[in-house]
Every structure is written in structure tokens, then in C-alpha cells.
């Protein structure tokens, strides 16, 4: 492998890992980082996005529209769940672990009962290209771009829009935000819905590349959690750099020592990073600025 194709390969692999981490983590980061809810049903929102997207493609819709549908449906389901269940848990976020775990059980097994044990895939669009004699998937470049675009849009939404400011205020001191005229219950709903929609987006984007089974969400969950936690409380300061660091570690170790090393290396990186920065990257970055 010559230098330039080696470099390309490294960038591609790191970008691929980065995209996976970012897209897996964004929805969780919004829900956890903003609301303090630890959402163990995150994988099932991904599942929802993937299934809706795939079904839409099968009835003949173009993939981008299908992904949009998957995102929207997951978001709506999220808002509904927030109204009915999650909103009773804001004062006791740890209990949300159990409740969302329960929701995840219901969703997984419910999918199995209603839709069967598997769903046929739709195939990955766009084909391949080759650099230095190696074949690469075009669609994975799309995933990388989608990850970057998602980060950019989220950053704009939360820092440049009134919704973003009100959402952050609500999450930080809910009763005061309420007393200042903010419709906090609407904000909660929208925020949770946004997190769920982002999970749905992840599912929709990865649906063409993966096995579609009711348990597919679990393939994303560990990566999503470690990225969010390494990132720390602030999703914008934290998630993107966390995903970048973890992607380099994972891609590097996987190419050097294989998948097991990549997997274990990722987890060990988490342990080491948190040991060095006990409040995550956010805590570190914020400590350095006044």
C-alpha cells in the first residue's frame, strides 16, 4: 500500500468509525445531556427508524424520503412516550434506567411478535469506488457527511435558536424556566422527540447496511453510551471531540490488531479518558475557560 492510498484508507476508516459513533450517540446525547434521562431504549428508537425506512423503501419511496420518514416516526413515538411515561421521571433520573429498559423490552419483543423475527434488507445504494486498488463503499462517505451535517445542525439549533436557549434553560432549572414563562412541558416533549428522531435518523441511515432484526438496536448502544459519557454533560463541546478521539483509537487498534483489540481498546480508552478527566471532555474544556 503506498503512502497516499494508505493515508486515504486511514482517513476512511477513522471517518467511518467517527460517523458510526456520532450518529449512534447524537440522539442519546440530546436526551441524556439535555434532560439527564438515561435512555436504555435508545436502540429501539434506532430500530424504529430502520424499520420504517426499510418499509418505506419497499413500498417504493426513494431512500432519502424513506429516511426522513423513519426519522419523523421515531421522533413522534418519542414525543408520545415522553408525554405518557418519561415526564414522570424528571425528578428521579436514575429510575429512568429501569423504565426505559422496560420500554426497550416491550419494543423488541413487540416487534418480534408483530413483524416477525427478521425483515428483508433493501441493499446499499451508490455502489463502490476504488483507491489504490481497494474497493470502498460510496454510501459510507454519505454516512460521514451525514454525521458532520447532523453535528452542525444540532449546534445551530441549540445555540442559535430560541428553542435551544429555552431548552437548555428548562433542563438546567426547570421550575425557574417555568416561572419565566417557558412552556417547559412542551420543551421536554420536543427535546425528547428530537433525541428520538436523531436515533431514528441513525437507524434510517444504517438500515441499508445492516441486518434488520428486532434486536438490532443493541449493536449501537454501547458505542453510543461511551461516546456520550466521554463527551460529558455538554453535547456540543463533548460529543464531537469524544467521537473523534474514540474513532481514532478504535480504527487504529482495529487495523493494527483486529476487531477484538478495537472493541476492547474502545472500552479501555473510555476508562482511561474518564480517569484523566473525571467529568468528561466537557468538564475539561469548561474548566479551562473561565
Amino acid at each position: 500500500m503506498d503512502f497516499s492510498s494508505g493515508l486515504f484508507s486511514f482517513l476512511y476508516q477513522t471517518g467511518d468509525a467517527f460517523a458510526f459513533l456520532v450518529l449512534s450517540a447524537c440522539g442519546l446525547a440530546v436526551i441524556f445531556g439535555m434532560m439527564g434521562i438515561i435512555n436504555l431504549a435508545h436502540g429501539e428508537f434506532i430500530l424504529c427508524g430502520a424499520y420504517v425506512t426499510t418499509s418505506a423503501v419497499q413500498v417504493g419511496l426513494p431512500l432519502p424520503i424513506a429516511i426522513f420518514l423513519g426519522t419523523a416516526v421515531a421522533g413522534l413515538v418519542g414525543m408520545l412516550l415522553e408525554r405518557v411515561i418519561i415526564r414522570h421521571l424528571y425528578s428521579r433520573p436514575l429510575d429512568s434506567i429501569v423504565v426505559t429498559w422496560g420500554i426497550s423490552m416491550i419494543a423488541t419483543q413487540g416487534t418480534l411478535i408483530i413483524l416477525g423475527s427478521t425483515m428483508p434488507g433493501t441493499g446499499t445504494p451508490f455502489g463502490s469506488f476504488s483507491v489504490g486498488g481497494y474497493g470502498y463503499s460510496v454510501y459510507r462517505l454519505v454516512l460521514m457527511l451525514a454525521a458532520l451535517a447532523t453535528l452542525a445542525v444540532l449546534w445551530l439549533v441549540f445555540t442559535r435558536t430560541r428553542f435551544g436557549i429555552l431548552a437548555r434553560a428548562t433542563i438546567q432549572v426547570p421550575h425557574i424556566a417555568e416561572a419565566l414563562g417557558v412552556n417547559t412541558s412542551l420543551i421536554y416533549s420536543l427535546t425528547f422527540g428530537l433525541g428520538a428522531a436523531l436515533a431514528g435518523l441513525c437507524g434510517g441511515l444504517y438500515a441499508p447496511t445492516m441486518t434488520l432484526v428486532p434486536t438490532m438496536g443493541s449493536a449501537f448502544v454501547v458505542e453510543a453510551f461511551v461516546t456520550v459519557v466521554v463527551g460529558g454533560a455538554d453535547i456540543f463541546l463533548g460529543t464531537a471531540p469524544a467521537a473523534a478521539i474514540l474513532a481514532v483509537v478504535k480504527a487504529g487498534l482495529t487495523s493494527w490488531q483486529g476487531q477484538l483489540a478495537g472493541q476492547i481498546g474502545l472500552l479501555v480508552a473510555v476508562i482511561v479518558v474518564i480517569r484523566i478527566l473525571p467529568r468528561g471532555l466537557t468538564g475539561f474544556i469548561l474548566r479551562e475557560r473561565a
Partner: protein, 358 residues
């Protein structure tokens, strides 16, 4: 005289602000429950007795997590790491040492000690590194997942300690059950009556000892740290030591669960350290009500038995029903199922519930 005194003051710690239940009424109830538990094998068949031993096995891990999380405020999502380490340690030790001369009990103690030591090292790293909140949860979860992934790939013959093959994902088997040396033939504690009484005895001792611990000076400081670590430190307590202490004790109990489970089924696998295994203790403790030992204990047994029952009779709907029950329980019973139910009958509990709601 003075030793008499210290015994009686220790016994006084069986009740206190950190545990529900006090006075003759409670202890009479305790005696009745204990008597029923002792009489149980007289009425039940071998399957039920052995199955109850199995439920008891998990209770130690739940009580340990209750101590760390409910009392100490540190949610460890990786208690299964200690469960697994102790289970494998028991397997490796007994396969190499054999089951004669009560060596299985030596192995039990040694395996628990190994898991406690592991917890001490990890806990030192965590608490002296000031890791807390969800960071603690994720680090402990990462540790248990690393162990799971690593152990899963130890299928090859090179992964052996002495004559014990680790045997990868398929799991390690072939370790002996707990065995009491006895003239005229060792007594092997298969999951049945004798093992039942042994496990029950350990459970009662652990439960009472934990009650004394949480009502002691140590327990007071532990709940203080849970409420406001900074203030606790500003009252002159080295909070790291207290958290570490609770973590080591709680993890040792997870280790005890691991050993008893391994001896019960002569089997231990990496999956017992995986993601879904790791979530279970959190669920048991949360459903019962994590801020009390008694509710943690009964909550755990209730969830285990309830979920097993559902799986037996619920066919494919079992998991859905379990999920619904979890959601409903947590929503309807914010302080755990027992305190909420109890509040229907008792004024004291009603007050406590109100406090917790406020």
C-alpha cells in the same frame, strides 16, 4: 462486661434511621418469615427448593448494589464484573484443588476475597480519581464489558490456569459443587435441601450484618456522602475511603453471588458479565426500592420469581409483560414497590413516602 456492652450496642444498630422496620412488631415478623423459610423444604419439592436457592444466590449481588447505590449514591453498572471474576476464580480454584477436605469452602472464601481485592483496586482508581455519577456507571460497565469480550475469546487450549480451561464464550464447567467433608462420605451440596439451608443462613447473616453496618457511624457518613459529598468532606470525612469501603463490601457480595451461582449450576460464562446481565441487578434494586435493605432483598426475590413465572406461563408475551410491569411499577411506586404498598397500610411509611415525593 465491656464486651457484653459492645455486643449489645452492636445489636442496637440492627435498627436505626437507615433501615425500615423496628421494634418488636418488625422483629416478630422477621422471626415468622425466617421460620417459614426454614420450614419451606418440608413442604416443597426438590425443584422448588433448588430454584429458591438459585433466587437467593442473586440476592447477595442486589444487597451489595443496594449498599453502593442506595446508601452510597454511587451507581455501579458493573457489579457483574465481580460476580464473574469470583465465579471464574471459584471454578479455577476448585478444578485445581478439588473438593476434598472442605477445600471448596476455602475456594469460596478465596474467590470472594479475589473479587473484593479486584474491587479495591478498581475502586481506588475510581474514587481516588474522583469519578462519580454516570461516569462511574459507565466506567464500571466498561470494565465488565471488557471482561466479557476478553473471556469470550479464551476458547483455545492456551487459555488455561492449571488444569482449568477458561473455555471462552461456551463457558467454564466441570467445577465441583460445594462439599462438606464428612466421615463416611462427603456431603455434596447439590441444589437441594442442604444447600438451601446453607445459602439461607448466609443470607440471614449478611442481611443482619448489613443492617448493622448501615446504621453505624459508617452508614451515617455513607448516606451523608450520597446527599452531599462536598458537605460531607467539609465535615472532616475522607469520603473516598467511605465510598471505597462500601464499594469493596458491595462488590464482595456480588462475588459471593458469583461463587454461589457457579457452585449451584457448575457453570459460569462470560455472558454473566455482559450488558443485559449487568442491567438486571439495577432493575432488581430499583423495583424493590433502593434506599432500604429489606425492600431491596424482597424486591429482588419478587422480580426474579415473577419474571421466571412469566417466562414459564407467558410464552412469547412474557418479555412484553415484564416490560410493562417494570414501567408501571416505577411510575406508580416511585420509592419502590414495598414502600408504596406498605404506605397503604402504615402511617410511618406514608410519611416517608411523602418525604421522598417532596
Amino acid at each position: 462486661m465491656s464486651s457484653r456492652n459492645s455486643v449489645s450496642s452492636a445489636l442496637r444498630l440492627l435498627e436505626g434511621p437507615q433501615t425500615l422496620g423496628k421494634g418488636p412488631g418488625f422483629w416478630a415478623g422477621f422471626a415468622v418469615v425466617l421460620a417459614l423459610a426454614c420450614a419451606y423444604p418440608l413442604f416443597a419439592d426438590g425443584y422448588d427448593v433448588g430454584n429458591n436457592v438459585y433466587f437467593f444466590n442473586w440476592a447477595f449481588m442486589a444487597l451489595g448494589l443496594g449498599l453502593i447505590w442506595g446508601y452510597g449514591g454511587a451507581l455501579s453498572f458493573g457489579q457483574t464484573a465481580f460476580f464473574g471474576v469470583a465465579g471464574y476464580a471459584y471454578g479455577v480454584l476448585t478444578i485445581n484443588l478439588g473438593d476434598a477436605y472442605g477445600l471448596t469452602f476455602f475456594s469460596l472464601v478465596a474467590a470472594v476475597a479475589i473479587s473484593a481485592l479486584f474491587a479495591a483496586v478498581l475502586g481506588y482508581f475510581l474514587f481516588f480519581g474522583r469519578i462519580s455519577g454516570v461516569f462511574l456507571g459507565i466506567v464500571t460497565l466498561s470494565v465488565t464489558l471488557v471482561l466479557e469480550r476478553f473471556m469470550s475469546q479464551t476458547a483455545g487450549p492456551e487459555w488455561a490456569i492449571g488444569s482449568a480451561r477458561l473455555n471462552g464464550f461456551n463457558g467454564m464447567g466441570g467445577m465441583p459443587s460445594l462439599t462438606i467433608p464428612w466421615p463416611g462420605g462427603d456431603i455434596v451440596l447439590f441444589p437441594d435441601v442442604a444447600l438451601y439451608y446453607l445459602t439461607l443462613a448466609i443470607l440471614v447473616v449478611v442481611y443482619l450484618a448489613l443492617r448493622m453496618l448501615v446504621n453505624s457511624r459508617f452508614g451515617n457518613v455513607l448516606v451523608a456522602i450520597r446527599e452531599n459529598p462536598q458537605r460531607a468532606e467539609m465535615l472532616g470525612y475522607d469520603i473516598r475511603r467511605y465510598q471505597l469501603g462500601a464499594f469493596v463490601i458491595g462488590s464482595g457480595l456480588a462475588g459471593l453471588s458469583g461463587v454461589l451461582y457457579t457452585a449451584w449450576g457448575n457453570y459460569i460464562t462470560p455472558s454473566s458479565m455482559g450488558m443485559s446481565a449487568a442491567a438486571l441487578p439495577v432493575v432488581w434494586v430499583a423495583v424493590g426500592g433502593r434506599s432500604d435493605l429489606t425492600t431491596t432483598l424482597f424486591g429482588t426475590l419478587l422480580v426474579l420469581a415473577g419474571f421466571q413465572y412469566l417466562t414459564i406461563y407467558g410464552s412469547q408475551y412474557a418479555l412484553v409483560v415484564m416490560g410493562v410491569l417494570l414501567v408501571v411499577t416505577i411510575l406508580a411506586a416511585p420509592s419502590g414497590i414495598f414502600i408504596t404498598l406498605g404506605a397503604l397500610f402504615s402511617k410511618g411509611l406514608r410519611r416517608r413516602l411523602k418525604r421522598e415525593r417532596a
